[in-house]
Amino acid sequence: MSETIANERAGLSPPTPPNAPRPTLPDEPLVVIRPSKSWVAINLRDLWAYRELLYFLAWRDIKVRYKQTALGLLWVVMQPLLLTLIFTVFLGRLARVPSDGIPYPLFIFVGLLPWTFFSNAVSNSGTSLVGNSHLITKVYFPRLIVPAAAVLARLMDFLVAFTILIGMLAFYGVAPTPNLLLLPVMALLTTAMALGFGLLIAALNVRYRDVGVVLPVLLQLWMFVSPILYPTSLVPESWRGLYVLNPVVGVIDGFRASILGHPFNWGALAITALATVFLLIYSTYTFRRYEKDFADVI
């Protein structure tokens, strides 16, 4: 009886001195851990080394979201489709909101697609750090990957939902114009902007959970001050200067212009691009500054 335990122990002889060849050490340390300075540049080498984690986290996000749902990935298309239906009935038919001469369902779907992507990406990445606190406190990796993966996962959703749009365009007989060449730029701009807001909100949310609580409300309001359900032309001329300061205006109008062949609103686009660049720099900086206490505060 006690032999059973004793035999198990016998498998654990005391350590013998290592006889395997020892690895030769680099002259310079691979990593030096020390308190960081106030300005912390992004460690690009580190991010590159962990690029596969970005992919795996995005993949997990998508996989987990649709596990145990009967419709699975179909939900990606259902969300904007159902909204389009509702808005078409109430706003298009009953309230007769103008749509720049475009069939209202198409008009609204082209707007809802990038907006759904943007708002889901912002809210997903904004709460991503807190949602992954078990990772943050247990293992090292560049924290930027977490909100970036959340945006990437929503970008995948966006691309899937986009296939429906192609069908809709064919149905309404809208032919592609050269404007379509700028579509990837619009998608990139939206992604960059979502990442910019996502990073900032994610970092703040670690310390102040208030941010996560008000975020859905803010996104709701944001939708109404953006040209999703109505065209920009509905906004009085005198207000338009102020209106385009909302960076979402530029991309939504940009999407409509490139897909439906309208002239681009270059002014609004320039504002969006400028705001996005500034936002990305600022939020990356803020993120890096907050990053070092994530594990202690979260």
């Binding site: 009886m1 059973t4 020892r22 690895p23 050490l25 340390p29 990593v31 987990v64």
Partner: protein, 432 residues
Amino acid sequence: MKPIIEVEGIAKRYSLGTGGASYQTLRDALAGMAKAPFGRGRARKGAGGETLWALKDVNFKVQPGEAIGVIGHNGAGKSTLLKVLSRITEPTAGSIKLYGRVVSLLEVGTGFHPELTGRENIYLNGAILGMRRSEINQKFDEIVAFSEIEKFLDTPVKHYSSGMYTRLAFAVAAHLEPEILVVDEVLAVGDAAFQRKCMNKMRDVGQQGRTVIFVSHNMPAIVRLCPRAIMLEGGRVIEDGPAHHVTGVYLGTTGKMFSERVWEQQAAAPGDETVRLRAVRLKDAAGQPLGLVDIRQPLVVEIEYDVLRPGKRLSAGFICNNDEGVCAFSSAEVEAETIYGQDINFTGRRVARCTIPGNLLAEGTFTVSAAVYAILDGPHIHAQESDIVGFRVYDPAEGDSARGIYTGPVAGVVRPRLAWESVPVLEGAVSR
């Protein structure tokens, strides 16, 4: 030789209070951000904010291929040290130079997602721990074989038993190939056979010339795995040297704490549906808890257990190991009258007592592993737990112990006081 890890003057301060946010409110933060968007906005410490130094001036060097154990009481700074070493949190002062890739295992199965299958979790967990996909592909079969879960590879892990989950998680971790491996008590999980497998794997890692830093409360495990140990107390290194010495110091300071182990909840106690261990205690002849034992003094080992189901002839037993993991002796209730004389219909709580006589064990630190079994069934072990309590034997060298008036080192794990006799057999000049 050049060290692979150089820890210099590491300190870590935590602000007590609202989760480390040091009394800063959202309003303050927003105001600060508006005033100086690129300023040094890191939490202005509240003037009266209390701070705690979890680590203070910690220095040590680790040679490549060395395995070192880190021990200390709760709150001594072990976890903080590991977190700083694995770059989860930043030190407040000091620096650490790492000349190799570090992988830290602060828990088993970090990032496992219950909805994902075993296969998917292997990839996800591997990526989180810093493995490349190609690396995982290459080791995939080995990982699956090690985890023994082939059949359930495509089942979501939420349907796994906790044992399967742990095995899979450890299997992924065990196949990492970092130059430096930082491990926190992850071996305190799983059944005995799997623990042994893990320990062997860890030792292999050490023998492959990798550097291991291992934090544990399990002193025998530290001694078996690590030739060297450091002990932390109040955030400082207070001992650094051979593991058997440092663990001895640790057990010496915890003598009292270690002399009793009680499982308050039956469900969490080791055992099966028939028997649950409830307590193991070390006492002196008068019934007082004892951790520091005079070599001449007898020591009582008390094993308390619950019998949940009648019908078994049960015996209690234990193994006494020294701090190098060498078994000094084992003992159990095996006399015919104990086995056949017990009431087979008994259910309830029972205490088995055994007295280790004085002048039996040598000086040093010992741990007691206990079990309750039915010896007539094979034997069949119903409850068992390793290294439950520990005690330290010392010799005040007053002349009436086995060492007599000799004060130098004495070999052996036991030191019985044996009778000697010498008589003259030939007197005068001894011829060749």
